[in-house]
């Protein structure tokens, strides 16, 4: 029983951190459709750096840095220019898939040629590591909750998400706020995606762009109304589901493909449930989420 629970930790940490970062960024009013592509890119960069340096932590840090650079880019362009957030996000999603294949395939060949054992470049899944992983993820969630609820930065982020025009009139620098939200949000997405290749899967697979874990994290965040503490609940639910796909599959007598389909169906169902219940009103999306922000005349 304990073993099974511990096995969930890498999956939980990946989903929770990615969903947290995504929700935090979207609170500032930027629609984040780049999530799956940049999740794949982060996971690939973590794998590449870890395999070349044989130090998983360099991979983790590198992935966070690269992803947060993308966060800055998205926040800056989406706020400074009157662009479609959706198109911007989707373009970066495809760019993320492309970049991760261009980066990942040579590294994968290198790992194969050198006959590197995954244990030399991934994080060993010992009990201590997993406990630290779990505790640190929960701590990050609590800190984010505190930042959003109790600090000036949190108020500024929420104001930029609700109505950037009003926020600006009240003296909030919307661009700066969103860039900060982008850096923090995407650093967490980078962190979570690094755990995907270095702890959860212990390796990289060229079909990584087909898995759609970024979209599952998207649904995890949405079904919890982007609240860091509630996200813990939805993330554990999906982590359990994905981790024990096999158990679920056998218990219900399903085939492998139906089990693979299950997280997506549950994701769609949970988003629908969230929207038809009173939760939607209590934890509505930021009012200006995804709306281009244009002041009549402005400097670049």
């Amino acid at each position: 029983m304990i073993e099974e629970l511990i096995g969930i930790v890498p999956v939980f940490a990946t989903y929770y951190l990615v969903a947290l970062g995504h929700g935090f960024f979207e609170k500032s009013g930027v629609l984040n459709l780049a999530i799956d592509g940049l999740f794949v890119l982060g996971a690939t960069i973590a794998f590449a750096l870890a395999a070349y340096t044989l130090n998983p932590w360099i991979g983790v840090i590198g992935s966070s840095i690269v992803c947060s650079l993308f966060g800055v880019f998205i926040a800056y362009v989406a706020t400074k220019l009157p662009v479609s957030h959706g198109a911007l996000g989707l373009s970066l999603m495809f760019l993320g898939y492309g970049l991760s294949l261009v980066v990942g395939i040579p590294v994968s060949n290198y790992v194969y040629a050198k006959a590197l054992n995954p244990s030399t470049y991934t994080v060993p899944a010992t009990d201590t590591v997993l406990v630290v992983l779990l505790a640190s993820s929960i701590l990050i969630g609590v800190v984010l909750h505190y930042v959003l609820d109790r600090t000036k930065l949190g108020a500024m982020i929420k104001a930029s998400g609700e109505d950037p025009h009003v926020a600006e009139a009240l003296g909030v620098d919307v661009v700066r706020t969103r860039v900060i939200a982008g850096v923090i949000g995407y650093a967490l997405i980078g962190l979570g995606s690094a755990y995907f290749t270095l702890v959860w899967r212990s390796g990289w697979d060229p079909k990584i762009y087909l898995l759609g874990h970024g979209w599952i994290a998207f649904a995890i965040s949405l079904a919890a109304g982007r609240q860091p503490i509630l996200t813990m609940l939805t993330a554990s639910l999906f982590a359990g589901l994905v981790r024990h796909q096999y158990v679920v599959q056998v218990a219900l007598g399903l085939s492998t493909e139906i089990a693979k389909m299950l997280p997506f169906i549950v994701a769609l169902a949970s988003m629908t449930l969230f929207y038809v219940t009173p939760f939607k009103r209590k934890m509505a999306s930021p009012k200006s989420l995804g709306k281009p922000y244009y002041r009549e005349e402005r400097t670049v």
């Binding site: 400074k80 989707l90 495809f94 492309g98 261009v102 979209w215 994701a267 629908t272």
Partner: protein, 353 residues
């Protein structure tokens, strides 16, 4: 201090519908070539050479026709500001139903009627799959982008379940795939190319019908207003929810039709796992629709350019450089430059002191 100021243009940029796509394709290809040079040391000149040669490749016509159709599907939705990212799933649902009819029903042996049934059934299946997302968007209020996207994964796995299990063929030499569909269902090749007569006919019929719909019918007008001013539509007594479902239904119908056509013309069978075999037309269509500036008349040209980029990717795959990677890079870069370039058709940047 010198400032750069974003200003709304009083008049739209002249020739924007030509300038924006051309500039974004050129800059997007440049961006990809820089990325490929830096990360994979592929010399840009060799890449440009390949791209230019792809424009006259004999296989480019097939992709152009298919992508024009997917582009038509997406233009319907995009004009109504319904961001259908699920053409990939609708395509596979169309393929699924066409496979079922071709392999397991007596209709398959009737000449002509069999083909038409497959294509129309594909359209119905694609429409229903899209309407699922349409209902969630219209009546629940869920954003259609994540919904249509996640339904793509579900569609892949539904087809996988069938191909792996009940539909696995008897004559497959150990591969996990269905049997070939009967030969009387195969489409007719246009001589000298890899494209098919029936696909060309579908492009012409569907293309004209949609152009006519947007230009002369009330439904077309309402769809366009749904995209620009849904409040006005509501105020004038139109049921906006029905229009949302209709936009997705029509869009999905064409995507599903393409799935059926692709089965009858190209693959003749479905192989497991489908998500790894897909040509990605559903996603490439997004690029085609945007590059056409949502103008039906611009679609074939946009599809031609995107097909050439896809052929370039495939040629490089044969050379061992990973075709999927390059197609994704082109797509991402061109979409990115397009998104930014499009701003300048309505806004301008001036220098102020």
């Amino acid at each position: 201090m010198v400032y750069l100021v974003v200003l709304r243009r009083t008049k739209p940029l002249p020739y924007a519908s030509i300038l924006v796509p051309v500039i974004s394709i050129l800059l997007g290809v440049l961006l990809s070539s820089i990325i490929l040079y830096l990360l994979a040391s592929i010399p840009p000149l060799a890449l440009f050479n390949l791209i230019v040669r792809s424009f006259t490749s004999p296989t480019v016509l097939k992709d152009t026709l298919i992508l024009t159709l997917i582009g038509l599907s997406l233009v319907i939705a995009f004009k109504a500001s319904i961001w259908n990212i699920g053409a990939e799933g609708q395509f596979h649902m169309g393929m699924l139903v066409a496979t079922w009819i071709a392999l397991f029903t007596p209709i398959a042996s009737i000449p002509v009627l069999a083909k038409i049934t497959c294509i129309l059934a594909g359209a119905v299946a694609g429409a229903l799959w899209a309407i699922l997302a349409g209902v969630l968007r219209a009546y629940v209020g869920l954003d259609e982008v994540p919904v249509t996207l996640m339904l793509n994964y579900v569609a892949y796995y539904v087809l996988d379940v069938l191909v792996y299990g009940p539909w696995r063929g008897r004559f497959t030499y150990g591969y996990i795939r269905t049997d070939e569909i009967p030969e009387n269902l195969w489409l007719t090749l246009i001589p000298g190319t890899t494209a098919h007569v029936e696909v060309l006919a579908t492009v012409l019929i569907v293309g004209l019908a949609i152009w006519f719909m947007f230009k002369y019918t009330i439904v077309g007008l309402r769809l366009r207003i749904l995209g620009s001013n849904p409040e006005f539509l509501r105020a004038s007594g139109v049921n906006v929810k029905h229009m949302v479902v209709l936009a997705l239904g029509l869009s999905g119908a064409i995507a599903g039709m393409v799935g059926a056509l692709y089965l009858l013309g190209d693959t003749h069978r479905v192989s497991y796992p489908v998500e790894a075999q897909t040509a990605g037309y559903g996603y490439l269509g997004i690029l085609v629709a945007w590059l056409s500036m949502l103008d039906v008349r611009g679609l074939p040209l946009a599809a031609y350019v995107v097909s050439s980029l896809r052929v370039t990717g495939i040629t490089m795959q044969i050379a061992g450089l990973g075709g999927t990677a390059i197609v994704f890079l082109f797509m991402g870069s061109v979409l990115l430059t397009y998104t930014v370039a499009k701003v300048f058709s309505e806004y301008t940047i001036v220098i102020r002191r």
